[in-house]
Every structure is written in C-alpha cells, then in structure tokens.
Amino acid sequence: MDFINDHKKLFLTAFALFAFLTIMVAIIPAIQNQNNNSTLPGAESLSEDALAGKAVYLSNGCVACHTQQVRNVAMDEVWGSRPSLAADYAGNKRTDFWRNTATLMGTERTGPDLTNIGNRQPSVDWHLLHLYQPRSVVAQSIMPAYPWLFETKSKLEKGDVEIKVPEGFSDSDGNKIVATKEALQLVAYLKALKQAKLYDENLAPDFLYRKEPELSDASSGEKKDKALNGKALYSMQCQTCHQLNGEGLKGAFPPLKGSPVVLDDNPEKLIDIIMNGYDAREEYGVMPAVGKNGNLKPEEISAIINHERSSWGNNARKVSPEEVKKIIESLK
C-alpha cells in the first residue's frame, strides 16, 4: 500500500471519492429538480408587497420555528389539503445578489406550519394583532412579539392602519397602535401562502400512515365522535379569534357566548357569516369567509355551530347537516 504513504495520492483519492458522491447525491439531484419542475398553473406568484413581506419573514428568522411543508403523512393533513410537491417550491429563485434562494421549508415546528396559512387564517386584523402581541390572541403562545413592526401615534393620519388591541395589551399612554409598512407587507406575504389547486386532485400523492378507525365499538362511538368533531373543528377554524371560552377578545373579536346571532333560532345569519364572512361592526375586526376558504362541508358546519350553540352556557336547538345544506344552497 504505497498510496497511503503518499500524501498527494491519499488526499486526492479521498477528495475524488467525496466529490463523486457529492455530485451524485447533491449536485445532480439539485440540478434535475431545479430544471424539471415549474410552478403549478393555478399558483399565484407573490405580489410586490408579499415579496417584501417575505424579506421581513426572512430577516426575522421566522423559519426557525415555522415550517412550510406538508409532508405526505396523515398527521400533516391539518396543514394542507394535499402533500407539498416539488412544483410548489419551483417558483423560488435567488433572493438577490447577497442572499440565496429561500424555500423556507424549515426543520422545526415550534409554531404551526404556514404552507396554507393564507387559507387557514385569512383575517388581516388577526395577523396584525397576533404579530403585535401573540399572547393577546392565543394566551398560551410562546411566539415572540414584534412591536418594532408597529408605531404608536397619538393621532391617526390618513392611510394609517390601526390595530384594535384588547385591553391589557394596549399602549399604556393611550396612544393608537399603527401597523408599519413592514407589518402590512409581512401580513400580505402570510395571506399569499396558499396551496395551489391541482388540475386533477387525484394526482396528489397519498397521505401515508393513516390511522385506521377502530372497528370495535363503531356503533356507539359514532355519536361521540361527531360531538368531539365539533370541538376540534372549532379549535382549528374559530378558536384563534373567538377563543376557547367563546368570549372573543374585547375590542378585537366579538364573543360568541350569549351572542344573539349564534343563539337565534333561525341559523341563517350565523351560517351566512361563517360561509361568506362579515364586516358590519366597526369596533371589531373583519371576519373572513371561513367556510368558503376552508371548503367546509355542511356536516362540519353543523358540528361547529352545534358546538357554539351548546357551549359556554349557550343553549339553542341543534341544527342538522341537512338544514345547513339547505341554507347554504339558498344563500347562493
């Protein structure tokens, strides 16, 4: 073994092996994936504001806690309607002369995945308030607050976007809290994070490792499951604004507890608001069209409103999925 005593031969061999493997497992796959994928036809490219918002997202290191990938495993179904595809990332190009591409897939989920946040949480007011002080909307959150994306002003100027901060988190001097351009851009970016529709939904890869429902007490367990569903659906769709206790946030999001709309014997208005959104009350933020955005089925809406109508002391009659279906059709 002469070559192990010759430093040139030894290190050149080691380098050659390493370089060969590098080309095979990194460079060639990277180039192939870069060249063989393009954005989906349904995907919207980022607006100028959203692009600037992405830069704010980048520079504050949001990727440290938030992923942007829906894996093809059943547990990730809550983050998107289908697993992420290479095509979803194909639009990411080099940021600028100084900075590399940012696909922002992330490796830690200390906070929720944001692949589809634009659909899951479309309310601008919620996002602004949440950025200003996360714990004002989600009490248990450990996300950093970003007050430097906001200014305090004694008087509003034209074009200012004021955020409605609940009591206890508002400015101690009674000043108004106004979103800066960066904050609005960041929210524009978050709102733009939406999973594009596939031309043919069947082309999406399957979610693997799906839990099979337990067969044993299917008959008795069914009813229970539906009741549970209402609470779980509420926590996913409504809770961030209206809160777990249904009391909303004073000055930002209205309470559902004791709300005449929720308790009305005729659920038409309630279903209308859930499906199409609502912006009739100045003192509160805008309600997004949760039902439409999330493609909620009548059964799901029925479960949600039955949960709302029977919790926190609310007591109104149950609404069946069939009734909901009728109302939705009549609203169209």
Binding site: L17, Q34, L58, N60, Q69, V73, S84, T101
Partner: protein
C-alpha cells in the same frame, strides 16, 4: 417482525440478551429502510428506532452511575486515609514515651533495614563511555511520534514559543466564542419559558437562534479544533509547522467572519434561512479563505514530514478541511439553488457540515490525544482507516434525511436512510477502537483530569451517532421530526461529542505549552456541571419531543402541544444554565493555564539561560560531584 430468540429454556440468559440486542440493532434496520406501508397501529415502544434510542440513552446514564460509584469509593478511601493518619498520631505519641535506649535500639534496626547497595560498587563513579551512541538519538528510527512520555513536570515538548502562542490564541478566541455563543443559547432557551423577556428586534428569537448556532459552530468548535490541529499536525509529522504566519491569518479571518456574521444576523441580514449557512456569502467567504490557507499550510507540513507514514490523525484532519471547502462551495454557488435544488443542497450541506467538518476533524484529534493521554498506541490502525473510508462513503449520502416525507424525490430520501443505517460501520469501528485502546488502562482514568472528557466523548459518539441513525427511519420521523427531539440530538452530538473531546484536548495541550496546570477542582466542576447539564437538557427534550410528536399524530390541536412542552422547556433551561455555568469554570481554568503566575522554576530557568548562552548542558543533579575526566 419477531425477534428470533432461542426457544430452549436451558440457554444461557446472557446469550439470549446479547442476541436480542444485536438483532434489534442490526436485524431490524434493513426492514425499516423500505417500510413504506408500516403498520402504524403497533405501539411506540415496539418501534425499533424508539427501542434503540432508549437503549442508547441508558448507556450514558449507567456510565454516570459507574462514575458516581467510583467517586464514592474514593471518598471511602479518603476516610480510611484519615483514620490511618490518626492511628499514626497515636503511634508517634507512643514512640515519644519511649526511653532513649529503646529509641537507639530502634534507630539501629532502622539503619540495617534501610541498607541498600548503591549499584556502583562494581562500576565506580566514572561516567560510562558510550562509543556506540546507544544513549542519544534514541527515537531516531521511530516512525510516528504520537506518544509523548507522561511527564510529571510538564516540560515544554520542544515546541517553538511562537508556535505555542499561536495555538494559545486559537484556544483563547475559541473560549470567548464558547462563552458568547452559549450565553446567547441560554438566553434563547429562556425565551421559550418567558417569551416577553425583551422586545428588541436585535434580540428576538428568530435572529438570535442562528447567532447561537453559528457562534458555537464557526467560533467555538471550529477555532478549538483548528487550534488543536495546529498542535497535532506538525507533531505527528515530526516537523515544525510550515508557516506560522498563515496560522495567524486564518485565526484573524475566522474571528472576523464570526464577528461580522453575528452582527449581520442580529441586524436581520441572512442568507435565506438554510440552517448553518445563515451568514451571507461575503462573510462565509472569509471563513472559506481561512480554511483554504490552513489546508495549504497543513499539506505543506505533512509534505515535509520526517516519518514515512502519514499518521491517521492527519488523514482525518486534512480530509475534513478538504471536504469542508468542498461543501461550502457547493452550498454557496447559486447554479443549483432554485426551487427544490436549494433544499437538496441544504440537506447535503447541513449534514456534511457536522459530519465532515466537526466529526471528522475531531476524530482525527482523538486519534492523537487518546493514545497520548493513555501513553500507549491506538488499538488498531486498520480500524481507524476502515472508519475513515466508511465515514466518507456513508456520511456523504445521508444529508436529505432531514427532509424525509418532504417533496424531495422519494428515492433520494431512501438513499439517505440507507446511508444513515450504513453509519453503523464507522461509528462501531471508531468506538471499538477507542474503547479497546482504553482496555487495560481504565485505572488511569481516576488519576487524570483529561480522560473523563474523552470517555464522555466516546460514549456520546456511540450513542449520539446511532441515535441519528434511529432518527432517520421513516417511522421515527413521524414521531420526532420537527419536534424538540432534534434539538436534543444536536446538543448530544455537538456538545456531548465535539465539545467534550475539545475540552479533553485543550486540557491535555495547554499545560504542556505553558507549564501551568489548571486547578483540578475547577476542572472537576467544569466536567460534572457540563455533563449533568447536558443530561438535564437533552432527556426532558427527548421525552417532551416524543409526547409532542404522538400528540400531533393523534390530530390534537397544535397549541396543546405547546402547552405540553412548557415543563420540558423549563427543564431544558435549567440544564442549559448548568452547561453555561460550567463554561465559566472552563474560562477560569483557561485563565489559570495561560496567565503566568510569576513563579520561577529555578532548574528550568537555569537550563534555559544556559542554552541561550550556547553553553553545554550540565547535569545539575550531580551537584558538582562530577569528577574531571
């Protein structure tokens, strides 16, 4: 999947256990690699990945227990010692009561007992004539000088003071970045428990996190490793370093890169969110230049070596610098970074960063320091070489295992998982080599303040690396990916392996360069706080991470998993505080080893003066009794 345990009840239990453990570790892995449709209804504790991790966890815990037992044994011996001293006092009192006659008698007896031959009865006191040169140049024909004699006085081993100074400054700056980087880490860890602790943009979590990781990577670990490499490379080549000037340049460049990088990250300027390549290219370029010139320096040194062979340490060290330059180029060249390309390169880069830079170079250092500290050769040179080539072969493949189930091609993910399983070969051969080197010398551990660091490093090298293999399986990815388990794993490896090995090396080298030893109590405190702190840091995160992953699999609301983690994050902060505090002791030890205490060693300085005056060395111990020839 069943474990093939022999059915006969007469078989000896130990054999049974061994077979089942081996089957668990080796037998299961190939099935998992292709497990696309694994039945997910089986319990979590029957998953091989989980079982492997639990077994791996037990290893350091049991070792800690063994160390505690040794400590207690020592305390017992101390008590015994005190008892004996009391006994001696009583005996001397008795002796005082004796009459002078009795004492004379005893003294006479003592003299006759003490009588010994002087060994020069036959030769006389004339110095030996040495025509055959048997006594000088003893080591002339030795191949590799990797074993220095264990010396009590810790004399300089013939190292150029200018060279020592360079190494010492690497250590000083490394220590600074350790303190800085872990202070940031500690603060960031506290933010999990108290998110509203401050509201400054420069100190926000997302900006500080990469400051922490990059400072401990490129600042502490890299400078520490290079400092030790600047000692090892010329030493095992048996020649002086090719260029001290290049050494200083690379020191300046790396420090400049970490200073600028940290400031840029805090100001919100980063490269795009890929972990460990957060520094923008002009800043990382400084680091790359430092590596390139260091490589030239080391290769020149090796090229001039006086030994025929290239000692295995230099294989590891130089190869790791070559590979790191390569991965930096691959990571920063924009030609293949669009879309998914960025992610594939990211997976490759972040894993080669730890595997080819930190792990490979540190292993090279261990191949020098472990035999040196044990004062015996490495158990098997061939195992070291096997580990070297298999590490290159398998490690290079495993990068994308950070993106299992992502949009990366399924085949590439499978290659990464297979490569992760292949890592068993270099890890097991490396660990075997180190443990077998220790064999027969365990008694030295209690008398050394460096060896415990190496033992912890070896334990975590085995457990931490194999944990990485277990984490790469598809099922374990379901439970652990995206959770705090990953954070625990990275600390077990970067801290448990790299930092502990570096400390062992630094405590071994610095006293040789400065002639000053650290206070042993402070070294002990450093060791135990760092070790216990790491355990408090990582075990709660692993438990919490597992529960969190299972919660996600159950489809429970995300915020509930945040609430669940609260106590585990608190434990992590406590463990982190212990680790951080141990670094203060390390810094104090550095101070004690480096800053001169102004005590003059009369013998040493007399000899030094004489050699400066170009006069011949005189054997001072003969004390003028020397007779003229």
């Amino acid at each position: 999947m069943k474990i093939p345990i022999p059915q006969k009840s007469t078989t000896n239990h130990r054999k049974k256990l061994l077979i089942s453990v081996l089957t668990l570790i080796f037998g299961f892995s190939p099935f998992l690699l292709f497990g696309q449709t694994v039945n997910s209804n089986t319990g979590i504790f029957s998953q091989p990945g989980v079982i492997i991790t639990i077994v791996l966890l037990l290893i350091p815990l049991l070792s800690a227990l063994a160390l505690v037992v040794i400590k207690i044994e020592r305390i017992r011996k101390n008590l015994r010692y005190k008892k004996d001293i009391d006994e001696a006092g009583r005996f001397s009192n008795y002796l005082k009561s004796l009459s002078s006659e009795q004492i004379n008698e005893l003294n006479k007896r003592q003299e006759s007992l003490d009588y010994k031959l002087t060994n020069i009865e036959l030769t006389g006191s004339l110095p030996a004539k040495d025509d055959k040169g048997l006594l000088s140049n003893v080591n002339e024909n030795a191949n590799i000088r990797f074993i220095t004699e264990k010396k009590r006085g810790l004399n300089r081993p013939g190292i150029d003071p200018a060279h020592s100074k360079l190494i010492i400054w690497y250590m000083i700056t490394a220590t600074f970045w350790l303190l800085f980087g872990t202070s940031v880490g500690e603060y960031v860890g506290i933010k999990f428990v108290a998110p509203d602790i401050d509201h400054y943009s420069w100190l926000s979590f997302g900006r500080l996190r990469p400051v922490h990781t990059n400072a401990v990577f490129w600042g502490w670990s890299s400078l520490g490793m290079l400092g030790l490499a600047y000692y090892v490379v010329p030493r095992v080549s048996n020649v002086p370093l090719a260029s001290l000037k290049i050494g200083w340049w690379s020191l300046w460049l790396i420090n400049a890169s970490v200073v600028l990088g940290s400031l840029a990250l805090m100001a919100g300027i980063n490269n795009g969110g890929g972990e460990y390549r957060e520094y923008i290219w002009p800043i990382q370029l400084l680091f790359a230049i430092a590596l390139i010139i260091t490589l030239i320096n080391f290769i020149k040194t090796v090229a001039r070596r006086n030994t025929k062979e290239i000692y295995v340490s230099n294989w590891y060290i130089i190869a790791s610098i070559i590979f790191t330059i390569t991965i930096t180029v691959v990571a920063y060249v924009p030609a293949w970074q669009n879309g998914m390309g960025e992610t594939i390169v990211q997976g490759y880069y972040m894993h080669q960063g730890v595997g080819m830079w930190f792990m490979l170079l540190t292993l090279g250092l261990v191949y020098y320091f472990l035999p040196q500290q044990l004062n015996k050769p490495i158990y098997s040179y061939s195992l070291g070489i096997l580990a070297f080539w298999s590490q290159i072969f398998f490690y290079t493949l495993i990068g994308t295992h950070h993106f299992v189930f992502s949009a990366i091609p399924w085949s590439l993910q499978t290659v990464a998982i297979v490569g992760s399983a292949g890592m068993i070969i270099p890890v097991v051969s490396g660990t075997t080599n180190f443990v077998m080197t220790f064999k027969g010398s365990w008694n030295k551990v209690s008398g050394s303040y460096t060896l415990p660091f190496f033992i912890v490093g070896i334990i975590f090298y085995f457990t931490g690396s194999l944990q990485g293999t277990a984490e790469a399986f598809r099922y374990t990815n379901l439970v652990w990916h995206f959770t705090d388990f990953t954070t625990a794993h990275s600390h077990i490896t970067m801290y448990g392996i790299i930092a502990f090995f570096l400390w062992g090396g630094i405590y071994a080298v610095l006293p040789r360069l400065t002639g000053q030893e650290p206070p042993q109590v402070a070294v002990g405190i450093h060791f135990w706080m760092a070790f216990i702190g790491l355990m408090f840091y990582s075990i709660p995160l692993m438990i919490g991470g597992t529960l969190k992953g299972m919660m996600w699999m159950d489809g429970q609301p995300f915020i509930d998993s945040v609430v669940l983690m609260a106590p585990y994050w608190l434990w992590r902060a406590i463990g982190g505080t212990l680790m951080w505090a141990s670094h203060l002791f390390f810094a104090y030890n550095m101070y004690k080893m480096i800053v001169s205490r102004d005590v003059i060693n009369i013998n040493a300085s007399a000899i030094e003066k004489l050699s400066i005056g170009d006069s011949e060395l005189v054997n001072l111990q003969d004390d003028g009794k020397q007779e003229p020839q």
